[in-house]
Amino acid sequence: MLDLIKSLIDRAQKIGASYADIRYQSGNSSTITIENGLLKRYESSELSGIGIRVIVDKAMGFASSTVLEPRLLSKKVTQAVKLAKTSKKRAETTILSETRTKKASAKSSFKRDPDSVSHEERISIALDANKAAMTEGIRNSTTRLGWFHEHRLFLSSEGSEVTTETMMTGLSQSSVATHNGVMESVYDGESSCAGFEFILSNDWCDFTKKVAESSLQAVKAKTPPAGVYEVVSDPDLIGLILHEALGHASEGDLVITNESVLQGRLGQRVASPTVTIVDDGLVEGGYFLPYDDEGVEKTRQVVVDHGILKGFLQSRDTAHRMVSSTTGNARAQGFGSRPIVRQANFFMEKGDHSFEELVEGIDEGLYIRGKGAMGGEVDVGLGAFTFRCGPSYIIKHGKVGEMVRSVSVSGLVLETLKNVSRVGKDFEIRTSLFGGCGKSGQMVRVGHGGPPVRIDKMSIGGS
């Protein structure tokens, strides 16, 4: 395959490309779904394909295919070059910033290949976990056990040759409970860039039981009245909010087009001095991203340093346009998509407050949680975000009290971050096999999290 790809890159250059890169991706993924104690589906698939990107007279062309015949791929190269020429008159000037040519390979650490575990054992792990969560009052129990193993190879006409091998495993649980005609569902999952040892070494029955208990509690919980509250957020929810509301706004492509609320604010205060925010490729608990899909090493990028906006996330194209250095944030969902600026593991650095210190002094507030949250959405230009929290708790007189459900939070990120008054000393980053982040129709896996934090003012949409 390597020789074939090299010959395709040569061909692209011969017919007019000043630059060409090719991404070859191959791998397999599987999900076992168990519902109410029955094996519902065992879906397994393999995927491979090639994506060709060329620059001709500073215009970009792209072609992709799952058919890997040399003759057809050669045609695809011609097509990519022709497509670049199609836009010539109106093309945005694409110049890739200088970067060190890389010859490297990296592999996420794993001990047990899923293939070394029998189909029967995989099914029985998921079945047992599912049955454990079928307790009284539970109307539906759905468990998913999943894993993937993927190789990505990147080659460019500049001489870069980067391979990454990633393995990921995880298990998720969704429990639906009913009480007095009310139904509530709670979802949670645990995933890791690891092999099947992650699955074999965890007590999944305990995990799914806790999700079931949470749904049974949530269905009886009240919804707090809408209003503005003092809140403490767990690492998961603040991580989600940061990813959506600040992370996307720090993506160079959105800054260039002036779509981001952070545009023009470099060097300015965007958060309280207790807040430092980072995007990194390799973090414990996070997603594995040593190199991006332009073959650039993913470096640690400080976005906010003690409240001051310090930098943005970049691809080679946006780095050139913004006269900045590359950060290794050009990512593509797969070979069929062109790389665009994406986050890797976006999180807040920890502070020095204990959880008790975060809660103390709050007379009437909420402890808002990401576990079981449905996710959120943001308007990057306004910096406006809205999130559905997981089951959360009332804070009364400095103590965490009863559970509340159906809590949604919303706000303007720059206001919210300035209202962060205390940052906790605990720290957790999470990633997910079962979900990801969407942008321009592409889904990539990311990590998010940080410490728990106290926010002095947060709008809660409730009953």
């Binding site: 397994s44 990519a80 109106r90 099914i123 009310v182 139904m183 569902s185 087009t257 809205t386």
Partner: protein, 447 residues
């Protein structure tokens, strides 16, 4: 490539190797797309193929899929599916793969123009939009916009002699416009997803977005209160899709995830709320000759005069309930089929959108939201943050509005909450809805 003969050959191979029944689903897609802002950022083409093998050995189901249609990959897929089947628990509810397959008559789902379209035609449409926006107002610029077109072929073969193939096309355009003047900013977008290139008026598409982006520069939040809400058609279509897309499926009813379980033939909405799943809608985004089981699509009433009439079935869930499938199987080649609406449609009336607004003394007209998909279809809790909207005062649109959260319960809204439905049917994906007015919902200022 001949998908049907590969499908038939693969079914035979599976049977020879020990499968009691086998189904092979094949797909191939080719298309082009251009992403642009004020200039073209990238022009691309994509081709992808895939094959999914589902087979049954003594009520044990095995499945495997591959993006490669090569001989070697196909054979390997069959072998792996067999190995998984043999390792799986018996599914005592399994009856059989679909036996009553065939095609329905549908119109307008394949556009020959798209099949032979040169990328330069798409580039011309892009130029029309770029020049149009720049000519409309000098304070406007484009951001993250795109046009894509493609044609796809899907084929299904199974052990009961099913050998079906369908061809479809799609065109999509998404235009994001921003306005800027003296530190004030506004943004708005419009998008279309259709079967035919000619259905999109590229000249007109950006105009409403341009107009709203300009007005949005003066948008403000408003104080919390309860008031009537007019939901624009495509925003309400998205809410319908969130609230009904999953829970009308017989699968979610059978697995007790749906709030509608046990509610057939009971009243769940007001008389004015009539919902159908029209799998045969002319040029509908979800219109197909047959569903992903190979069963002809049909028109299925869902809510008629407030009464819940049907759930949506694929072959598996229909067999389980001993009824006929409604032709609602949806899948990709990498997954099992599952029931999903084809073209979920809220029936329009003959009232114009303007009348909804004119008849509102004090209210909010909502044109864009974020986060509406976070609403909960099980409890009915609906919440959405308005990013673009207008206050309605004495029947006229006045102050542009942003940053307010609307909340309410969807089940109550459809049951007595909606007092006006318009005639302006529009789709978001494969869900079609007109604009509607809800008598009263809670607004919370978002700060």
């Amino acid at each position: 490539m001949n998908l049907l003969s590969l499908g038939e050959k693969t079914v035979k191979l599976a049977e020879k190797l020990g499968a009691d029944e086998c189904e092979v689903y094949l797909t191939s897609v080719d298309g082009n797309s251009i992403t642009f802002a004020d200039k073209i950022e990238s022009v691309g083409s994509f081709s992808s193929t895939g094959l999914g093998v589902r087979l049954i050995v003594n009520k044990r189901i095995g499945f495997y899929s591959t993006s490669s249609l090569s001989d070697k990959a196909t054979k390997q897929a069959v072998r792996t599916a067999l190995a998984i089947a043999k390792a799986s628990n018996q599914n005592h509810e399994w009856v059989s793969l679909p036996t009553r397959t065939g095609k329905a008559q549908v119109k307008g789902v394949f556009d020959k123009e798209i099949e032979v379209m040169k990328p330069s035609v798409i580039a011309d449409a892009v130029a029309l939009i770029i020049d149009g926006v720049h000519g409309y107002d000098k304070r406007l610029a484009l951001t993250r916009s795109s046009i894509s077109v493609g044609v796809g072929k899907d084929a299904i073969s199974n052990s009961y002699g099913t050998s079906l193939e369908r061809s479809e096309s799609f065109a999509s355009a998404s235009v994001e416009v921003k306005a800027e003047e003296a530190g004030k900013k506004g943004a708005a977008g419009e998008s279309r997803l259709t079967r035919n290139w000619g259905e999109i008026d590229f000249q007109a598409l950006f105009c409403p977005a341009a107009e709203r982006a300009l007005k949005a520069m003066d948008a403000k939040s408003i104080a919390s209160e309860r008031m009537p809400i007019v939901w624009m058609n495509d925003v309400f279509a998205r809410i319908l899709s969130v609230m009904f897309g999953g829970t009308l499926s017989a699968d979610s009813v059978q697995s007790r995830r749906s709030p509608w379980a046990g509610r057939l033939e009971s009243q769940i909405s007001s008389d004015n709320f009539n919902l159908v799943d029209d799998g045969l809608r002319e040029a509908g985004v979800g219109t197909r000759e047959f569903d992903d089981d190979g069963i002809p699509q049909q028109m299925t009433p869902i809510i008629s005069k407030g009464i819940l009439k049907n759930f949506l079935y694929d072959n598996y869930t229909a067999n389980k309930d001993k009824v006929l499938s409604t032709g609602n199987a949806h899948r990709s080649y990498t997954s099992f089929p599952t029931p999903y609406p084809n073209n979920l449609t809220l029936k329009p009336t003959n009232v114009r959108l303007e009348e909804l607004i004119e008849e509102t003394e004090h209210g909010l007209y909502v044109t864009e939201t974020i986060g509406e998909w976070l609403s909960n279809p099980i409890s009915g809790d609906l919440s959405a943050t308005v990013t673009n909207g207008f206050l309605i005062e004495k029947g006229e649109l006045t102050q542009p509005v942003k940053d307010v959260i609307i909340s309410g319960n969807f089940f109550k809204i459809i049951n007595g909450g909606i007092n006006l439905i318009a005639n302006d049917l529009q789709n978001s994906g494969s869900t079609y809805a007109p604009s509607i007015r809800v008598a009263e919902m809670a607004l919370t200022e978002s700060k």
